[in-house]
């Protein structure tokens, strides 16, 4: 799922300074699961903002609402009547939600409350790790199910580099070296020979971000 972290509090305070009535909109899906922008964290942020503004004598009125998902037009429309009553929106959903509301409500200023960070896996309760770069051209079958594009600091396709020592990446000591994992897993699957074949350069033009913002269309589904 999409993983995000709340933005530094001072930053949010700063860009909300000119406004005194806003809508704080959470999202019930990914940011709820990673405890960044669900109803609980949204209410916490709202309460903190009210107190901070009260402390400097400029009270801030915050309406709170958390639709099930912010990236669907219907859920955005649900907020339309409250939008009329506020000067700005602080959305604590991921970047997608913020931009959906921006598209649906062109006249209202909108601010992100979280930093959307990566597509990740829950390694333990409260610990999430990056797993996918959404490059649009998956190579996981070549690397025993571990993606070097997302999990290697140098995105090597013929790793490991000279800096991998006792299974850890030299750039971040706590991160596992993706290629050590690929090597170990290939060994356990008995597919070490596959690692001796050179993986050719990745075609970034096929479906990756480098070929420009992407769009998926299913003609059969179109209404």
């Amino acid at each position: 799922m999409i993983k995000a972290e709340q933005k530094p509090f001072e930053e949010i305070l700063e860009y909300l300074a000119p406004y005194n009535k806003i809508l704080l909109s959470g999202c019930g899906a990914c940011v709820t699961v990673c405890h960044a922008g669900g109803e609980k964290e949204g209410a916490l942020l709202a309460s903190a903002l009210r107190m901070a503004r009260q402390k400097i004598g400029k009270p801030l009125e915050i309406l709170e609402s958390t639709p099930a998902r912010q990236c669907e037009p219907e859920f955005a429309q649900e907020l339309s009547d409250t939008i009329g009553r506020v000067q700005a929106i602080l959305s604590v959903s991921c970047g997608v939600g913020v931009q959906t509301l921006a598209r649906h409500f062109p006249a209202t200023q909108i601010f992100p409350g979280v930093n959307t960070t990566f597509l990740g896996e829950t390694v333990a309760h409260g610990v999430w790790e990056e797993r996918c770069q959404a490059c649009g051209d998956c190579i996981l079958e070549k690397t025993a199910g571990i993606c070097p594009i997302a999990r290697c600091a140098k995105q090597l396709l013929n790793g490991p580099c000279g800096g991998s020592s006792n299974g850890k990446c030299e750039i971040k000591r706590e991160t596992d070296c993706a290629w050590q994992l690929i090597y170990d897993r290939s060994k356990s699957l008995g597919q070490l020979h596959r690692l001796t074949e050179i993986i050719p350069a990745k075609q970034w033009g096929v479906q990756s971000r480098d070929s420009g913002p992407r769009r998926i269309v299913r003609e059969d589904l179109k209404v």
Partner: protein, 436 residues
Amino acid sequence: MYRTVYKSKTAAPAPINLKPEVLIMGGGIVGMTVARELAREGVQVVIAEKGETLGGGARDLHFFYDRPADVQKWMGDLISTLEGEGNIHVLKGAKLKRLDGQLGRFQALVRTSDGMERTLSPSAVVVATGCITRPAEAMSDGSRCIGSSEMEKLLAESRDLPLTWKGQPVKTVTFILDLTNDDIKIHTVNAIKQAVILREKGCQVAVVARDLKVSASGIELLYRQAREKGVLFFKYDEPPVVSHTGDGISVEISDMTVLRKEERETVSLLSDLVIIGETFAADPETLELCRVMKLRAGTGGVLMEDNPQFLRVMSNRRGIFLAGGCRFPQVITESLSEAHAVVQEVKALLRGGVYTPVNPVAEVDPPKCAVCYTCVRLCPHAAIGVERYGDRNIYSAPAEKNGDTLWGAARVDPAACFGCGICVAECPARAITLYQ
């Protein structure tokens, strides 16, 4: 906002009916005692014993410390009463593979050594898997340094003949205590008991300990009896040095009776045999059982944390109880007292054949649930599960009573919920409410 800690709920949670069926893990003296008592109440009892014979840890014991009876004979009678009892069914070489469901609808998948797999549906589970003893390292080289269970066997075999060990006569014996497990009384109790018997056989006996554990009923008197019969007791601060000399084994300790530390000279006890209590360690299968049954493990791998609120026999899950060595290694009388306490708890639970939740119960509002498993991971009582699309997922949204909207959401089982509210506070979508 924070004042509404509870919400009142009109309909009381439905009572859960409980069939009088109990599964007991472990066929030691505790498990057998609980089985016998419950069977008398007409409860259908299944004992799942991991070994091929009943008796557990008591199989190494022959003498009680507080009464003249023979342990093996007493255990034999207990086993025979079990076999004669129609309500008790013993599964040998049994291993619990899975435990699903909650109080009233537990589903226990047990595989026995003959390859058979059975699904039992007990209303309550009693864990009495005991603890295992591993030989202390000093015993590894097998020479003249044996464990207390081996000495117990020797004494039992040579009832009235002079004591021999591997063919050689045994004249002097030294017990060394508190090398490991210095918080368990069993070694001291066994040592004093065996010392008295050895004196009656005319052996010269010495007991070396850091702190003599006499806090079991009747032990101080036995300790006094041992002293009157001539058993020598030594105390130490630094552990004694054990060395093998030609014809025996010598134990060196500093003589604590001399007051000035520097003036104490070392006393060397030359003896034919040295007895060191085995190390009591957590049974690795108990840890595996904790995982399978979602029970909490305490420090050192025993079952359940040492928390006074749980009164020694309750586990963190309703309907699962524990007793005896698996919670903490203790003497037989204490373990049996815990066994009877468990019998009482099970009788009180199964009385009336129904359990109605008395404490507040949490309930998830399915549409708001993001199925993030926070509550499932954090519930100390393993009361919450996500029953996705299985047949049991009759969990319809409370709003629509027609029951055809099935939600893939977390669900709190009212029978297992203790009403603490931890899940309510941790839920990122604030989807859980506590109903009084």
